[in-house]
């Protein structure tokens, strides 16, 4: 479980707070999508969750952040890393090895996992990410989607209870993006891993995430179950966040006084809404 209590952070030299009074509880087994325009503080929040803020980046830090009961101000990032793993945006930059297997081994060796356990962990992490066949391949030969899965496997091998990902599908095409999210769903449902994912693609979040948090200028403005949050679509748009087109259509129908029901968030619900509006074809 992660608890943020009135958390704030300002990078030294910056004028405004990157995080500004954030209170949030992320339960075990959650699949939380984090969305907001650039500069809203999403990446800084990821840094805070991993302890990089305030230990690596200096600045004004206030409030409290507890990761599995560990206060992030007192515990070093590598201690927090035993329960919380992170995958950051620049996928090439964060690779430390040239071959997939070595990338997975890196963390296991560092954390001193017993040798007899290592082989099993590597195989399991690769299988969970669906990339067992890539084990001996050179990382430079892989596609963007495959590299992203290697990064995820390198983290899952450490068996963290929580995985935080910062825009894992940023440079991927629709199919590879979906596959990454399918992998996350698998980890969440089969292995009970808590997932916190920053993502701009609202459609993916609507389909895969259970809860949604919307940020604006360092503040958390909306948080709750995905469909509940989508009911405040107007507020999301004002914060510069994309919403599904069926939701936009539903809002327009509301304004015309044609629809009073709940806002739909995918095609199926859009179709249902259209029938409610009384359009049978």
């Amino acid at each position: 479980m992660i608890e943020l209590k009135n958390l704030g952070f300002r990078y030294s030299g910056a004028e405004r707070h990157a995080l500004d009074g954030i209170s949030l509880t992320i339960e075990d087994g959650a699949f939380l999508g984090l969305i907001g325009s650039s500069g809203a503080g999403k990446s800084t929040l990821c840094y805070a969750l991993s302890g990089i803020v305030p230990h690596h980046y200096r600045g004004d830090f206030y409030g409290e952040l507890l990761v599995e009961g560990m206060d992030s101000a007192e515990h070093r990032p590598e201690e927090i890393a035993r329960v919380l793993g992170c995958v950051f945006q620049d996928i090439d930059g964060q690779m430390v090895a040239s071959v997939v297997e070595d990338e997975i081994l890196f963390g296991l060796e560092n954390f001193g996992v017993p040798r007899e356990e290592i082989e099993g962990r590597v195989a399991e992490a690769l299988a969970a990410a669906g990339i067992s066949e890539l084990r001996c391949r050179a990382i430079s030969d892989l596609s963007g989607g495959q590299k992203q899965k290697v990064a995820i496997a390198a983290i899952t091998a450490l068996r963290p209870k929580i995985i935080v990902l910062d825009e894992p599908t940023g440079e991927l095409d629709p199919r590879s993006s979906r596959r990454v999210f399918e992998t996350l769903k698998e980890l969440n449902e089969q292995y009970g891993v808590t997932i916190v994912v920053v993502e701009q693609k609202i459609m993916l979040l609507c389909e895969f995430a259970k809860r949604l948090a919307v940020m604006e200028e360092g503040k958390l403005i909306l948080e709750g179950e995905v469909r509940e949050v989508l009911q405040s679509a107007g507020r999301m748009e004002a914060a510069g966040v994309n919403i599904p087109r069926v939701t936009t259509l539903a809002r327009a129908l509301r304004e015309e006084g044609l629809y009073g029901g709940r806002l739909p968030l995918n095609l199926e619900e859009g179709e249902k809404m259209m029938r409610e509006v009384g359009l049978s074809c």
Partner: protein, 269 residues
Amino acid sequence: MLEFQRVCFGYESESATLKDLSFTINEGEFVALLGENGAGKSTLCRLANGLLKPSSGRVLAFGNDTGQVKTSLLARDIGFLFQNPDRQICQSSVRDEILFGLEIALDDAAARQARCDEMLQLFSLSGERDPFGMSRGERQQIALASVLARAPKLLILDEPTTGLDYRECMTIMGIIAQLHARGTTILMISHDMEIVADFAGRALVISEGRLIGDGPVRQIMRDEGLLGRASLLPAQIPALGARLGGPYAEAFSVEEMLSLILEQKGAAR
């Protein structure tokens, strides 16, 4: 103005990345280039401005065979915005960055300054800021501004909205739509079907190096089979229209769908 004649291209030793591609892009079109990562979209764009030369076949840009002309010369008429703005930006202020691109195109210093000011205004950018401290979206705007300063007749965009948030996305696309309205021809790679539906007029679909679809976006967007072969899904409103059938199958945007519904309702009353 851009013509591919039976173009094949293969990186060394690998099997060909593009196979027997033929199409023509006419002046004033807004063409979206669709397909999976690795399908050959970026290669196609690099062939169009001469960064790559075809292994067989011909690419004609403004009547020039790209195989015969230097890329830096073709660059006078063809603007190219890369996915990653950081590879382009090499100066320490926004103004210098825009001027750097202009230096090669315009001899007259006063004309350069004027063009630079025009761009700063169009993008509402401050010329004195240091690009390296700015956000990815702002840097993408600077990169685009310095490409546009040279007033290219054809603008090639390689995933211009990747890594941007929705607001930045709309800013960039708004400027591109403005340019298109003023007559610039656009060739744009994009994975975002909503953006393609909103802005492009024609779509080329590539799969495994072959051109599998070429037609108006409205028509391509309804061809779920074709899109499926390129592992794409249609934009939400056309997909909704297709499910509902009847008159709604023609609806393409939220506005169109809404006016259709209002029309139906009015008729019912």
